[in-house]
C-alpha cells in the first residue's frame, strides 16, 4: 500500500464504524440482513425479509392476536409507492380474495399502515419453484404432477375471471410437502376491464419477459386466459428441458422478435437424452402438446388451461393427444405405444430380411452415401473408424486391382497354353472332323491374340478417365469370346470357364457365377461334351456359388462334378441340383410354400443318395430352416437348423464357412422366437469362423453381423448394435455390385436400429425406401416387401400419420394374406394393425370384423394360439376404446385364463397379449376409482 489511508467522515458514518462496538455489531447485522426484522408493522411482528418483487418487498410476519403466520407484501415508502401501485394492490386483493383453491395462495386482506400499503397473505413455508427444482431435483413424474396442479389452480382463477399475467417460477411457491401455490395475482385484472387501456397507460408492461406471451410482448390484442396458458407452457417446457424455449436469445427486443416471428423449438429437440429417456412413453406427443400451447396465435392454442392440462394427462396415461398436425382429424398414435404387440412384431420381421441374403452387396449409390453420412454421425469414434476403413479400403482396392491384373496376365498366358493344349489334344485325338480340330487350334490362336491385345491396352497404374480397368478388359474379352467363338461351343465353354475364374479373383463374384453357370448350361447343350470339361464347368460354378454363400447349390454342383469324374450315377443329384435351383428362384419370387416343397423333395432324394452326401443333406436342411423362418414357423426352423448341425460333417468340413452359415441361421430362428440367450454365442462363433476364413471385411460376414446387430437391438443395447451395423454398411458399400436384396437388407437393418433408438422419422424414411425397393425388385406379394410394408405402416402410426398408415394396411393386409396365409406372423401383425387403426379412427365395427374373422380361423390351429390370444388382447382394447367395458373385461379375462395354461408365456405373442390384458384391467380399475 502506497500510503496509510483512512475513511472519510461520511464513510465512517455509513459503515457505522463510529459506533460503539456492541452497537456496531447490531448495525452490521441490520445492514446485512435487512433493516426491518423484529420490528412491528402495525399489529404485525416482522420475522424476516423474504424477498423483493416488482410489487415491493415481502416479509414473513406474525399476527400477534391469532399467532397466525402471514406474508406481508410490502410496498416500501419512498420511491416505489405511488398511486398506481396502491390502486393495483387494491385491485389485486379484490380479485385474489375471491379465489379459494388448494393451489392458489390465500389472500387475507389489504391494509394501509402509515405510508405503507400492505397485502396480508397466507404464509407458505416453502421455496420458489425455481429454487425448489434446483435443490430437490424432482423426478420428471413429479414435475409433470406439479404442472397439472398449477394448471388446476390457474384454471380456477380463470373460471373466476382472473388472469395472472405474470406466471413464472418465482410466482410459484412449493411448500415442504411439495404442494405448489400460485402467488402474486398482482398483475391480474378483471377480464372484463378495459385491459388494453389500463395496461398501456397506467401499469405499463410488467410481466416477466421470458414467460410473457407474444401478444403480451406486442400488445397486439387484449389478453385472455390463453396468454397465461402460454406462460404455463413456457414453465412446463422449462420444467422438463431445464431451459426455456427462447433462452439463448439475448436482449429484450430480440426476445420479442423471436416469440412473435419464430416458433418455439420443440421440446423434443432440446431435451437431453437422459431426461427424455425417463419420460414415459416417449416425449414426442408431449412436445406437440407444449408446442400447441406455445403457438404464437392464441387461437391456435388450447381453448383453456384445463384443455391443455387434460391433453398432458392423456399423454401421461398413454392415450392419443389432441395436439397434433392440423391435417389429421384425430390423433391416435399412442396406440402403437400401448400396443406393444405391434412393436414386437415389427422388430421380429425386419430381422427376416437379414438372413435372406446369401450375399450382401450394396450399390454404392447416392442413397447409400447419404445413409453413410448419417451413420457417420453416430459417434466420433465410429466416424474415425469409418475414415480408417475408407482409407484401408482404398488401399486394398488399389492393391487388388494391381494383383488382379498381374493375375490376369498370368492367366492369359495360361489360357493361351491351355487353348493350345486343347487344339493339340483335339488334333491328336482326331475324334471328329479335321475341320473342328483346325478350328480349335485357330480359336486358341485367336483368343490369345485378343487377350494380349486387350491386356496391352490396359494399364493398371493409369487411372485416368478413358483408360480401361481390369474389369473392363475382362468384360470386353467375354464379349469377344461370344462373338468370335459362336461357332465353336467347346472352345467357348472353356474360355468362359476361364473368364469366370478370373472374374472371381477380382471379387466380381456374381459375374463369375453367371459366367460359370452359362458354361455349365453350354456344356449341357453340347451333345458329346468331354466329361472333364463338364466337370470343370460344374466345379467352377460350385466355387462361385460357394463364394456367394450359396452353399447348398454349391454342394450339389460339386457332388455332380465328382460323380461325373467317378462315373457314378448322377441322376438323383442332377435332380436335386435342379430342384434346389428352382426352390431358390421360388424363394425370390415369394413362393415360399413351393420353395419349401422343392427342398423337402430334394431332401428325400439326398437321403437316398448312394453313397450318401452329408454335405448336400446338411445344406438342404439349412435351406429348409431358412425358408421356414420366412414362413413364420420359427420353431420348425430351429429344428431344421439343429438337424443340419447334427449331420455328420464331411472330411475337413467341421468349422467351415458352411457350418458358420448354419449356426447363424439357427441363431436367427432363436431370436425370432424370443430366445435370446443362445444366439449370441452361436453368432460370435459363426463370426469368428467367417472372419478366419474370409477376413474381417468380407461380404459373407454381413448376414452374421446383421443378425448380431438385430440381436443387440432386441436386447436394448444400441451401443453394441451401432458399430455392428456400421460394419455391415461398410461391407455392403465396399463390395459394390447391384444386389437389390442385400441393399434392402441393409436398409431394413438400419431402419430397425434407428427405430429402436426412437429416431422415427429416419426409420420411416429408411423403411419406406426399403419397401419401395423391395416392391420394385421382388414384387408386392413378396415376404420381404410385405415385412417392410408392415414396418412402414407401424412407423407411420407412431409418427401419427394415421391415414397413411391405415391406407397401407388396408391395401396390404389382403395381399399379405393371399401370399403368406393367415398364420404367418406378418399377416397376423397386419390384421392386428388394421383392426387397431380402424378402431382408432372410430371404425369400431370394421375393426372388430377383421379381428373376429381372423380369430375364428386362427382358433382352429393350436400351434397358433399365441397369435390368437394376441388378437384377443387387441380386441379387448378395441372393445374398451369403443366403450364396451363388459366385453373388454371378458376378452381380457380370457387372455389371462389362456396365459395360465400356455407353456412359455415369454415366447411368441404371449407377452403382447398379456400387456393388452393388463392395460385393459388398468383402465377399468382407474375408471372404477373415479
Amino acid at each position: 500500500m502506497a500510503e496509510p489511508l483512512d475513511l472519510s467522515y461520511e464513510d465512517e458514518q455509513l459503515f457505522g464504524l463510529h459506533l460503539a462496538l456492541d452497537d456496531w455489531v447490531g448495525h452490521l447485522r441490520s445492514q446485512l440482513e435487512g433493516p426491518r426484522e423484529n420490528r412491528f408493522l402495525g399489529e404485525y411482528q416482522i420475522v424476516k425479509e423474504v424477498g423483493r418483487g416488482s410489487q415491493g418487498v415481502v416479509y414473513r410476519a406474525i399476527q400477534p392476536g391469532t399467532q397466525r403466520e402471514v406474508a406481508l407484501k410490502f410496498v416500501s415508502g419512498g420511491h416505489q409507492a405511488g398511486e398506481s401501485s396502491h390502486r393495483r394492490l387494491a385491485r389485486e386483493v379484490e380479485i385474489a380474495a375471491t379465489l379459494d383453491h388448494p393451489y392458489v395462495v390465500t389472500v387475507h386482506g389489504f391494509e394501509t399502515i402509515g405510508e405503507h400499503s400492505i397485502l396480508v397473505m397466507e404464509w407458505v413455508d416453502g421455496r420458489s419453484l425455481d429454487q425448489w427444482i434446483r435443490e430437490e431435483h424432482p423426478s420428471t413424474q413429479t414435475r409433470i404432477e406439479l404442472f397439472l396442479q398449477l394448471a388446476d389452480g390457474l384454471h380456477h382463477a380463470h373460471s373466476h375471471g382472473v388472469l395472472h399475467r405474470d406466471l413464472k417460477p418465482s410466482n410459484v411457491l412449493v411448500d415442504r410437502s411439495g404442494r405448489p401455490r400460485i402467488v402474486d395475482f398482482g398483475l391480474a385484472l378483471l377480464e372484463d376491464c378495459d385491459t388494453r387501456l389500463t395496461r398501456s397507460t397506467e401499469l405499463g408492461f410488467v410481466g416477466t419477459l421470458a414467460y410473457a406471451s407474444p401478444e403480451q410482448l406486442e400488445e397486439s390484442s387484449p389478453l385472455d386466459a390463453r396468454s397465461d396458458q402460454y406462460s404455463l407452457a413456457v414453465l412446463l417446457f422449462e420444467l422438463l428441458a431445464d431451459r426455456r424455449p427462447f433462452q439463448d436469445i439475448q436482449g429484450l427486443a430480440a426476445l420479442a422478435r423471436a416469440t412473435s416471428e419464430s416458433r418455439a423449438p420443440l421440446l423434443s429437440a432440446v431435451m437431453t437424452n437422459e431426461r427424455a429417456s425417463r419420460l414415459p412413453g416417449g416425449f414426442r406427443d408431449l412436445s406437440l402438446i407444449i408446442a400447441k400451447a406455445l403457438e404464437r396465435s392464441p387461437a391456435s392454442r388450447y381453448s383453456s388451461v384445463s384443455a391443455f392440462a387434460e391433453d398432458v394427462e392423456r399423454w401421461r396415461r398413454g392415450f392419443a393427444v389432441l395436439a397434433r398436425r392440423p391435417r389429421t382429424t384425430y390423433l391416435l398414435s399412442k396406440w402403437a405405444q400401448r400396443n406393444r404387440l405391434l412393436a414386437g412384431t415389427l422388430l421380429l420381421f425386419v430381422g427376416f430380411l437379414i438372413s435372406f441374403a446369401a450375399v450382401i452387396t450394396v450399390q454404392n449409390s447416392r442413397v447409400e452415401q447419404q445413409r453413410q453420412e448419417a451413420l457417420a454421425g453416430w459417434s466420433a469414434e465410429s466416424t474415425a473408424r469409418q475414415r480408417a476403413l475408407d482409407a484401408q479400403r482404398e488401399a486394398e482396392e488399389a492393391r487388388t486391382a494391381a494383383l488382379a491384373l498381374a493375375e490376369s496376365e498370368r492367366e492369359s498366358r495360361r489360357l493361351a497354353e491351355e487353348l493350345r493344349e486343347i487344339a493339340v489334344a483335339s488334333e491328336a485325338a482326331a475324334v471328329a472332323s479335321e475341320g473342328r480340330a483346325r478350328s480349335e487350334a485357330a480359336a486358341a490362336d485367336e483368343m490369345v491374340e485378343i487377350l494380349l491385345e486387350i491386356f496391352l491396352a490396359a494399364r493398371p497404374s493409369d487411372r485416368s478417365p478413358g483408360s480401361m480397368t481390369v474389369g473392363e478388359v475382362l468384360d470386353a474379352a467375354s464379349a469377344r469370346i461370344d462373338t468370335n467363338f459362336a461357332n465353336d461351343p467347346l472352345a467357348n465353354v472353356r474360355l468362359t470357364i476361364t473368364m469366370a475364374r478370373v472374374q472371381g479373383w477380382l471379387g466380381r463374384t456374381k459375374i463369375a457365377r453367371d459366367l460359370s453357370e452359362r458354361a455349365v448350361s453350354q456344356c449341357l447343350e453340347i451333345a458329346d461334351a468331354p466329361v472333364a470339361v463338364v466337370a470343370q464347368a460344374r466345379r467352377e460354378f460350385a466355387r462361385q456359388l460357394f463364394n456367394l454363400g450359396d452353399y447348398q447349390l454349391s454342394a450339389t454342383q460339386l457332388e455332380l462334378a465328382e460323380s461325373l469324374l467317378s462315373g457314378r450315377e448322377s441322376t438323383a443329384l442332377e435332380r436335386i441340383a435342379q430342384w434346389t435351383l428352382e426352390s431358390k428362384q421360388a424363394l425370390f419370387q415369394g413362393e415360399l410354400k413351393r420353395a419349401e416343397a422343392l427342398l423337402l423333395e430334394s431332401l428325400e432324394l439326398a437321403r437316398a443318395l448312394d453313397p450318401p452326401s452329408s454335405r448336400v443333406e446338411r445344406l438342404i436342411r439349412s435351406d429348409l430352416g431358412f425358408v421356414v423362418v420366412l414362413l413364420g414357423r420359427f420353431a420348425d426352423a430351429e429344428t431344421w437348423y439343429r438337424s443340419a448341425l447334427d449331420v455328420e460333417p464331411a472330411e475337413g468340413e467341421n468349422g467351415s464357412a458352411a457350418f458358420a452359415g448354419v449356426m447363424a441361421g439357427l441363431a436367427n430362428a432363436l431370436v425370432r422366437q424370443g430366445k435370446l440367450t443362445e444366439p449370441e454365442e452361436l453368432l460370435t462363433r459363426a463370426l469368428s469362423i467367417q472372419e478366419a476364413r474370409f477376413g474381417k471385411e468380407h461380404p459373407k460376414l454381413a448376414p452374421t453381423l446383421a443378425s448380431l446387430a438385430q440381436l443387440k437391438i432386441r436386447l436394448d443395447d444400441p451401443a453394441a448394435a451401432g458399430p455392428l451395423i456400421q460394419r455391415v454398411v461398410s461391407i455392403t458399400r465396399t463390395f459394390s455390385s447391384s444386389d437389390q436384396a442385400a441393399l434392402v437388407n441393409a436398409i431394413g437393418l438400419q431402419a430397425n436400429f434407428e427405430r429402436s433408438r426412437g429416431n422415427l422419422e429416419v426409420a420411416w424414411e429408411l423403411y419406406e425406401e426399403g419397401f419401395h425397393k423391395a416392391r420394385e425388385h421382388f414384387g408386392q406379394a413378396h415376404v420381404t416387401t410385405l415385412g417392410l410394408a408392415l414396418n412402414t405402416g407401424l412407423v407411420l402410426l407412431e409418427l401419427e400419420e394415421t391415414e397413411e398408415s391405415l391406407d397401407l394396411f388396408e391395401e396390404y393386409t389382403p395381399i399379405a394374406r393371399e401370399a403368406l396365409g393367415l398364420r404367418h406372423p406378418i399377416v397376423a401383425g397386419m390384421i392386428a394393425n388394421l383392426g387397431g387403426v380402424r378402431s382408432r379412427v372410430g371404425r369400431f365395427d370394421e375393426a372388430l370384423a377383421v379381428l373376429n374373422e381372423a380369430m375364428t380361423k386362427l382358433g382352429r390351429f393350436p400351434s397358433s394360439e399365441d397369435m390368437f390370444v394376441g388378437l384377443l388382447g387387441m380386441r379387448a382394447e378395441v372393445h374398451w376404446e369403443q366403450g364396451d367395458r363388459s366385453k373388454a373385461r371378458a376378452d381380457a379375462l380370457e387372455v389371462r385364463r389362456r396365459l395360465k395354461s400356455c407353456s412359455d408365456p415369454a415366447a411368441g405373442w404371449w407377452p403382447h397379449a398379456r400387456d393388452s390384458a393388463d392395460r385393459v384391467f388398468e383402465f377399468l380399475e382407474e375408471e372404477s376409482l373415479r
Binding site: 500500500m1 475513511l7 423483493r52 418483487g53 420511491h79 410473457a212 400488445e219 436482449g251 429484450l252 427486443a253
Partner: protein
C-alpha cells in the same frame, strides 16, 4: 501487497481489449448492480436484464474514460449509471415493452459519456445505491475475513451477528466474555482495514491483488 504496481484496472479497461480486466470488473460489480436493481424493486429476471444493460453501457463508456478525481468519486459515477439504467428500463417498460435494447443502451451510455456528474442529488435512488454499495463492501470484506481468520473466531462472530449474546457464546464456546469481546474487536478492526483498502482501490481503480 503490491497493488500499487498493478496497472490500473481502469487503464486496462480503457483500451477496450483487455478481456481479463473486463471480467475482473464484472465479477467485482455485478452483484452490487444486481442488489441495487433488486432494492429498486425489480423482478429477478428484470434485474438480470438491467445488470446486463448497465455493464454493457459501462464497457462502452469506460473506453476512453479519463479519470478526474475533482469531478467526484467513482462510486457515485457507478451509482449514476445504475440508477439511470433502472430509470430508463422502467420508463421504457412503461412506455412500451420492447423499444429496449439499442435505444435503451444508448440512453444509458449517454449518462456514461458524462461520467463524473457530481449532481448526484439525495434522491431515494441514491440513498439505496449508497446502502447497497456499503453492503457490497461489507460483504466483500467479510468474505476475506472468513477466508483468513481463525475459523472459530469467525464462527463466534457469525453467532454474534445472528443475535447471540456474549454470555451465551461464552458458555457455548467455553470462552471468557473478554475473549469474545476481543474477537469482536479484532474482526471489526480487520473489516475496517479491509474496507479502507477496498475503497482506496476502487477510487484509484487498482485491480484486486
Amino acid at each position: 501487497m503490491s497493488e500499487s504496481t498493478h496497472p490500473s484496472l481502469l487503464v486496462r479497461l480503457r483500451d477496450g481489449q483487455d478481456e481479463e480486466a473486463w471480467r475482473d470488473f464484472c465479477s467485482r460489480y455485478r452483484n452490487l448492480f444486481l442488489r441495487y436493481a433488486e432494492a429498486r424493486g425489480l423482478q429477478p429476471t428484470d434485474c438480470e436484464d438491467v445488470v446486463q444493460i448497465a455493464l454493457i453501457s459501462l464497457s462502452r463508456a469506460l473506453r476512453g474514460f479519463e479519470y478526474d478525481p475533482s469531478r467526484g468519486r467513482f462510486r457515485n459515477y457507478l451509482g449514476r449509471v445504475a440508477a439511470n439504467t433502472v430509470n430508463a428500463y422502467q420508463a421504457a417498460s412503461a412506455r412500451r415493452p420492447f423499444p429496449l435494447s439499442d435505444a435503451l443502451l444508448e440512453s444509458v451510455a449517454e449518462v456514461g459519456g458524462e461520467p463524473m456528474s457530481t449532481a448526484a442529488g439525495t434522491s431515494e435512488a441514491d440513498a439505496l445505491w449508497e446502502q447497497e454499495w456499503m453492503r457490497h463492501h461489507y460483504e466483500l470484506a467479510l468474505s476475506t475475513v472468513r477466508k483468513k481468520f481463525d475459523p472459530r473466531s469467525v464462527e463466534v462472530f457469525e453467532q454474534l451477528l445472528s443475535g447471540a449474546s456474549v454470555a451465551e457464546l461464552a458458555t457455548r464456546y467455553d470462552m471468557t466474555s473478554q475473549a469474545i469481546h476481543k474477537v469482536k474487536q479484532g474482526i471489526r478492526d480487520r473489516l475496517r482495514r479491509l474496507i479502507v483498502d477496498q475503497i482506496h482501490r476502487e477510487e484509484t481503480y487498482e485491480a484486486h491483488g
